[in-house]
């Protein structure tokens, strides 16, 4: 039995990202063993060998955080799954407090009337599905005014999740 030739306009849903990937620790943001950009994480050991407090994740290289970037990892239900060490300092919460809580408890869109294409929740949900390219939006800490951050939203994993990398928006 031979496979039917595929129409070039069709693609498999959830096709692996062909962009160059970077592996980083979900807590300290460093690449494993200090290597700048290893090809692939060791599936046997997902725990960061540098800090021991995070799991190794993968994201498109142009979008992946550096060790000095504060970032969060959010799943498809917009629940926080990881918080980097720098984000802990920036937001004043620990990862153990934040995990399993909704992102809206900590960050909300900076512009409440943003179009759907820039809606934080939608962007995170799409990114967690691996459907959307990395995009930047403005966010602010919940119940805090006058503080805004740029947030790059894109996919990461495994398992599939959205990565939200914060940067100063002033």
């Amino acid at each position: 039995m031979t496979a039917e030739p595929l129409d070039s306009s069709l693609r498999v849903v959830g096709q692996p990202d062909s962009r160059p990937q970077k592996v980083f620790c979900g807590h300290c943001g460093r690449a494993p063993n200090g290597e700048p950009e290893p090809k692939k994480a060791d599936p046997e050991s997902r725990v960061c060998s540098n800090c021991g407090m995070g799991l190794l994740l993968q994201a498109p290289a142009e979008f992946a955080p550096s060790p000095s970037d504060p970032f969060l990892v959010v799943d498809g239900s917009l629940t926080i799954c990881a918080l980097s060490r720098v984000a802990e300092e920036l937001l004043g919460i620990t990862e153990t407090e934040a995990v399993n809580r909704h992102i809206g408890e900590f960050l909300v869109p900076g512009d409440s009337e943003a179009p759907t294409s820039e809606n934080l929740g939608a962007l995170l949900a799409w990114a967690a599905r691996g459907d959307a390219p990395a995009k930047s939006v403005v966010v602010r800490p919940t119940n805090t005014f006058g503080v805004r951050y740029w947030a790059r939203v894109g996919p990461c994993g495994p398992p599939r999740a959205a990565l939200l990398v914060l940067a100063d928006a002033r």
Binding site: M53, L55, C81, A82, T96
Partner: protein, 331 residues
């Protein structure tokens, strides 16, 4: 069909070969040393200890030599969660959820009056934890939840309390024989098996027995002839447990005990809320409400008492305190 008896009997079988007498007899639960647990998780022992500090998980027990002992179930649950997790925190959270499911399961089976499934739920808990932790983390919280939800006058609580009482007594009967040179007298001041304190008192008795201590549990209502009972036991400390009996009843019993064996350390277990002022005047020490905490404190009290001026010489003669009683000639 549950194999509770098999599990407990396996624990009760003396396996002293190659082990110092007096060491707690290990559970059928598989324990891992730090290096073994770290290897299973593919991390360093330092990382494992750092997780314990930061996340409070995995929570090891201590060996007689104070080394960490991890239950295989906890480590395996964490390993599985790490493979599918996005962070250590979320993996720990997921592993914990798996363990807390045992409590939910036991509450559900007791609420539906299903004795066999309740036994099976405890067996499942025992597969992941030591018996001590299963009692403290699953059995007692489940009973407390049922009592809180349904009230002391409910049929569900009556069923659950009786089941818990029977389970704990059965486990105590199957505990290994006393191997430590320490004995406790427990004055039970609870009402009956429906008293919410009763299960905790049974749990304390079970843990004392499993720690190798000799034990005599008596209701505080039984005063007459108590001297004969005490002559057999020679207790090192007295525990007044439960808050139901009136102060005068307890005082009468304590007086009877003291008349027979003299001054001994007196401790209060689950009786602290009712009479805080009286405690200060009598010098009785309050024990932690958790059975394992209370047991540690009791052991400490006995240890300190033995190192007091009157017993210092005696303690110096023995190589180690609280070690197994020497068997008499011919025994």
């Amino acid at each position: 069909m549950h194999n509770f008896g098999v599990l407990i009997r396996a624990e009760a079988t003396p396996t002293t070969k190659g082990k110092p007498q007096g060491a707690p007899i290990p559970d059928p639960v598989r324990f891992l040393k730090t290096s073994e647990a770290a290897a299973l998780l593919n991390v360093s022992p330092n990382t494992l200890r750092a997780w314990e500090r930061r996340f409070g998980y995995p929570k090891p027990q201590r060996s007689p030599g104070k080394h960490r002992l991890y239950t295989h179930g906890e480590i395996a649950a964490l390993r599985d969660a790490l493979q599918e997790g996005l962070s250590i925190s979320s993996a720990v959270s997921r592993a914990r959820e798996g363990l807390s499911a045992d409590t939910d399961s036991l509450v559900g089976t007791l609420a539906s009056f299903d004795r066999d499934r309740a036994d099976a739920a405890m067996e499942a808990a025992l597969a992941l934890r030591s018996l001590e932790r299963s009692v403290e983390e699953v059995l007692l919280p489940s009973l407390e939840e049922l009592h809180r939800k349904h009230g002391a006058d409910s049929a569900r609580w009556a069923f659950a309390a009786r089941w818990g009482d029977e389970w704990l007594r059965r486990a105590q009967r199957l505990a290994p024989p006393p191997v430590r040179q320490v004995s406790f007298l427990i004055g039970d001041a609870s009402a009956n098996e429906l008293d919410p304190d009763s299960a905790a008192i049974r749990a304390l008795e079970l843990l004392c027995a499993r720690a190798g201590a000799r034990l005599l549990g008596l209701s505080v209502q039984g005063v007459s002839g108590i001297g004969e009972a005490l002559a057999m036991l020679e207790p090192d400390a007295i525990v007044l447990a439960g808050g139901h009996a009136r102060d005068d009843e307890v005082a009468r019993w304590a007086y009877g005990v003291r008349s027979s064996v003299g001054a001994l350390p007196v401790t209060l277990y689950r009786r602290e809320v009712l009479r805080p002022l009286r405690v200060r005047t009598t010098g009785a020490r309050l024990l932690s409400p958790s059975p394992s905490g209370a047991l540690s404190e009791l052991m400490e009290i006995v240890e300190v008492g033995r190192l007091g001026p009157t017993r210092r010489k005696e303690a110096a003669k023995s190589t180690t305190s609280l070690m197994p009683r020497e068997r008499s000639a011919g025994a």
